[in-house]
C-alpha cells in the first residue's frame, strides 16, 4: 500500500475500484470526443489532417551514393520549408526515404515497398538511368505518380509511362542542344568526345553530335569509356592532333584520375576543354590533380559558387539546404555538394505541392486529377519554389525545360560566362503521354 505522502495518482498501485475506473474511462472518452470536436479551433497552428506521404527513392549506397546523400538532404530541407509554410493543402508532409542501392532490381522493390506498404501518395527522386528504367514501369503498373530527378532523356522520349514525370530538372538532350552553339562558336569546329560507355553517355554522344553537326562542326573522335575504368591514359591517343576542343563527360569516382592523366598526357599542347559538372559533382575543384582544368569550361545546371547566379531565391535555397559559398556543406567544407542536380529534388517537391493544391488532390482516388493538372501546366515561375530558374513544362512529354549555364574555371573556382535561354534547348516532342490511358 502506498503511503499518503507518495500521493495518489490516477494510476496508483492500489486496486482501482470499478467506479473509479469507469469515471476515468468516461473522462477519457469525453475528452477524446471533445478534442476532436474542438480540434480545428484549439489546434489552430498544428494541422490535424492526415499527412501527405511522399517517398524518396534514394541512392544511399552504390555508385550513386554521393548524389543520394545530397538528394536526401535537399529533400528534408524542402520538406521543412514546406511544412513551415503550412504544408501541402494544409496537410503536413511526411518524407519517407528508402535506399535502392543504385541497383535496378532493388529499385523495383523500393517502388513496391512505397506503394504497397508505406502507401505513400507520391514517389520521387531517382537519378541513375538504369534504375529509372527498371523502376518506372513498376510504378506505372502500381498506378502511382513517379517523379524522377534524373537528367536522362528517357522520360521525354516516351519510353516510359504516363505516371512518370520529370518536372524538376532538365534532360540531357535539351542541355547539349542548348550549349552546342556556344561551344562551336567559341571553342572550335573539330570536336572530340569522351563519354561513358553506357546510357547517359550515349545521350551525350547522340544528341550533341547531331546538334554540333547541324552547326557545321565535325566530330573527329568518339571515345567511349567503360564506367568502371580507373585509368585513362590509353584512351587519349585516339584523339587526333588537329582537334580544337575535347568534350568530356565522365561519371564515377575516377574523374580526378581522368583529369590528371589528361593533363599529364597533353601537357602544354593541350586543346580546349569542355566538360560537364557531372564529372565533378561532390568533388572540390581545388583537389590535387585538377589544376589542369584551370581555364577550361564546364556546363552547370545551377552555378556551384555563390554570387554567380545572384537571385534572392537562390540565396534562400542555398541557405536552407545548408550549402556554403563554395558549394560545400556549411558544417563540413570538405563535403562538396552535387549542386547542379539536387535542386531538382527541391523543385519537384514544390511541383507536387503546386499540383496537389491546384487539382484538389486528397488521396489516390484523385490521381487522375493530379496527372491531368500537371500535364496542363506550361510554366513554373522562378521563385523559392524554383530557384534554378523558370521552367517551361511540356505536358506531352512530361518534361521540364530550363536555362543552362556555362562556367569557366578561374582561380580554382567557377565563373559563369554564358547563360542559355530556355528556347535554345527545346526540341520537338517525340511522344505524347497525354493520349495514353491511365
Amino acid at each position: 500500500m502506498l503511503s499518503v505522502r507518495e500521493g495518489t495518482t490516477l494510476m496508483s498501485t492500489e486496486k482501482l475500484t470499478r467506479r473509479e475506473m469507469l469515471k476515468a474511462l468516461g473522462a477519457l472518452a469525453g475528452f477524446g470526443a471533445l478534442s476532436r470536436f474542438l480540434a480545428p479551433y484549439v489546434y489552430a497552428g498544428a494541422s490535424p489532417q492526415p499527412p501527405i506521404k511522399i517517398g524518396l527513392q534514394a541512392h544511399r549506397t552504390g555508385i550513386g551514393a554521393v548524389y543520394g546523400k545530397w538528394y536526401e538532404r535537399t529533400a528534408r530541407a524542402a520538406v521543412k520549408v514546406i511544412n513551415a509554410q503550412g504544408g501541402i493543402a494544409g496537410r503536413p508532409v511526411e518524407l519517407i526515404v528508402e535506399d535502392d542501392g543504385t541497383d535496378p532490381k532493388r529499385g523495383i522493390e523500393v517502388v513496391e515497398k512505397f506503394a504497397l506498404e508505406h502507401r505513400v501518395d507520391f514517389i520521387f527522386g531517382t537519378l541513375f538511368s538504369h534504375v529509372v528504367l527498371s523502376s518506372a514501369p513498376r510504378a506505372g503498373e502500381l498506378k502511382i505518380p513517379y517523379l524522377v530527378v534524373s537528367e536522362g532523356y528517357h522520360v521525354a522520349s516516351g519510353k516510359l509511362n504516363r505516371w512518370t514525370f520529370q518536372p524538376g530538372i532538365t534532360d540531357v538532350r535539351a542541355q547539349v542542344t542548348a550549349i552546342a552553339p556556344w561551344i562551336v562558336r567559341n571553342l572550335g569546329k573539330r570536336i572530340a568526345m569522351i563519354f561513358p560507355d553506357y546510357a547517359f553517355g550515349y545521350d551525350h554522344r547522340d544528341f550533341f553530335s547531331a546538334a554540333a553537326r547541324k552547326l557545321g562542326a565535325e566530330i573527329v573522335a568518339l571515345v567511349p569509356i567503360p564506367p568502371t575504368e580507373t585509368s585513362f591514359t590509353k584512351y587519349f591517343p585516339r584523339i587526333p592532333r588537329n582537334v580544337d576542343v575535347i568534350y568530356h563527360v565522365m561519371v564515377g569516382p575516377a574523374v580526378l584520375t581522368f583529369v590528371r592523366e589528361m593533363g599529364e598526357f597533353f601537357g602544354q599542347r593541350r586543346p580546349k576543354l569542355f566538360g560537364f559538372i557531372d564529372s565533378l559533382e561532390g568533388v572540390d575543384l581545388a583537389s590535387p590533380g585538377l589544376e589542369y582544368l584551370e581555364g577550361s569550361y564546364l556546363w552547370e545546371a545551377l552555378p556551384r559558387y555563390a554570387g554567380q547566379y545572384n537571385t534572392p531565391w537562390e540565396k534562400q535555397y542555398r541557405e536552407a539546404v545548408g550549402v556554403d559559398a563554395n558549394g560545400a556543406s556549411k558544417t563540413d567544407p570538405k563535403d562538396v555538394s552535387t549542386y547542379s542536380h539536387m535542386f531538382g529534388v527541391w523543385e519537384t517537391l514544390f511541383v507536387i505541392k503546386e499540383v496537389v493544391e491546384k487539382s484538389g488532390y486528397r488521396g489516390p482516388k484523385d490521381y487522375r486529377a493530379f496527372v491531368e493538372t500537371l500535364e496542363k501546366i506550361e510554366w513554373f515561375e522562378e521563385g523559392l519554389a524554383h530557384p534554378q530558374g523558370p521552367k517551361r513544362f511540356v505536358g506531352k512529354i512530361h518534361q521540364a525545360f530550363g536555362q543552362q549555364f556555362i562556367s569557366q574555371v578561374v582561380g580554382r573556382k567557377l565563373k559563369v560566362v554564358h547563360r542559355t535561354k530556355i528556347e535554345d534547348g527545346m526540341y520537338k516532342p517525340e511522344a505524347d503521354y497525354t493520349k495514353q490511358p491511365l
Partner: protein
C-alpha cells in the same frame, strides 16, 4: 599519334598496372595457395589500404607515413579476421566464401559510413612529368613501378630464402605432411593471410596518388587478381607476376585496336582459353 608511340604508351601503362596487379595477385596467390581458401574480401584489403593511405596522408601530410602505417594496420586487421572468422570455420571452402562475402559487405559499408561515398585524391609525393616526344608521363608512376618491383623481389626472397617461406611452401605442398614434420600450420596460415592482406594494402597505398580512394574500388581488382592467379598457375610466384604483366599489356595493347569493352572481352576469352588448354595455368602444377 603514331602507332609506335601508341604502343610505347600502352606498354608503359600496362607495366604500371601490371605492377599493381602483381602485388595484389601475389597476395591472393599466397592465401589461395597456402590456405586453399577463396577470400572474396581480398579486394577490400586493397581498398582499405587506399582509404587509410588517404586518411594518414591528409592527417599527417606525409605520404611516407601512409606507406608504412597503412599496410601494417591492414595486416593487423587481417590477423584479427583470421583468428575470429577463419579459424572457427576451419578454413572450409564453402563456409569461407559465405563468411568472406559477409566481410566484404561489412567492410564496404563501414567504409561508406566512416569515409563516405566520395572518391578522394592524394597529391603524388613526386610531381611532374617526364616529357617524351609524343606525350608526357607522370614521374610518380615510374617511382611506383620501382617500389613495387622491390616489394615483389622482397616477397620472392621471403618465400624462397626464409624459414617462414619454407614453411609456407611446405604447407602449400601438403598440409598434413608438413604438420607431421612439425610445421606450426596455424601460425603459417596466419602469416600467409596477413602477408596477403599486406601486399594488397600496399598496392592500394601505391595506387592512391594515381587513382582515388573510393569505397567500391576493391571489386574490379578482385576479378582481375583471380584471373591472374589462375592464369599464372597456383603456387607459382613467378607465374603470378608474369601473368599480371601479360594481363596488363594485353589490356593496354588491345585498347589501341578495339574499344575498351571489346578489349576486355578479348582479354577474358584469352584467359579462359588458356585455362581450357592448360588446366594448371601457364606455370603451375595441374
Amino acid at each position: 599519334m603514331t602507332f609506335v608511340s601508341q604502343l610505347v604508351l600502352a606498354l608503359l601503362e600496362g607495366t604500371v598496372s601490371g605492377f599493381i596487379l602483381a602485388l595484389m595477385s601475389l597476395g591472393l596467390s599466397l592465401v589461395f595457395g597456402v590456405m586453399r581458401i577463396v577470400n572474396v574480401a581480398h579486394g577490400e584489403f586493397f581498398m582499405l589500404g587506399a582509404v587509410l593511405a588517404w586518411w594518414i596522408t591528409t592527417a599527417t601530410g606525409s605520404f611516407l607515413a601512409a606507406v608504412i602505417v597503412a599496410p601494417l594496420a591492414v595486416m593487423g586487421m587481417a590477423i584479427a579476421i583470421e583468428r575470429v572468422v577463419l579459424r572457427p570455420i576451419r578454413y572450409s571452402p564453402g563456409a569461407t566464401i559465405v563468411a568472406t562475402l559477409g566481410l566484404l559487405y561489412l567492410l564496404q559499408q563501414m567504409t561508406l559510413m566512416l569515409y563516405g561515398p566520395e572518391a578522394r585524391a592524394v597529391t603524388p609525393p613526386l610531381g611532374g612529368t617526364i616529357e617524351l616526344p609524343w606525350f608526357g608521363y607522370a614521374r610518380y608512376k615510374l617511382v611506383l613501378a620501382a617500389v613495387a618491383a622491390v616489394l615483389l623481389l622482397a616477397t620472392w626472397g621471403l618465400v624462397r630464402a626464409t624459414t617462414l617461406g619454407l614453411r609456407m611452401r611446405a604447407t602449400q605442398q601438403d598440409p598434413e605432411i608438413a604438420q607431421a614434420f612439425g610445421v606450426p600450420i596455424h601460425r603459417v596460415y596466419r602469416a600467409a593471410f596477413a602477408l596477403g592482406a599486406g601486399l594488397a594494402a600496399m598496392a592500394g597505398v601505391l595506387v592512391v596518388p594515381v587513382q582515388q580512394a573510393h569505397y567500391l574500388m576493391g571489386l574490379d581488382g578482385l576479378l582481375l587478381s583471380f584471373m591472374v592467379v589462375i592464369l599464372g598457375g597456383l603456387g607459382s610466384i613467378g607465374g603470378t607476376v608474369i601473368a599480371s604483366f601479360l594481363v596488363g599489356w594485353i589490356d593496354g595493347i588491345a585498347s589501341i585496336f578495339f574499344t575498351p569493352t571489346v578489349a576486355r572481352i578479348a582479354a577474358s576469352l584469352v584467359v579462359a582459353l588458356v585455362l581450357v588448354v592448360r588446366g594448371g595455368g601457364l606455370f603451375g602444377e595441374s
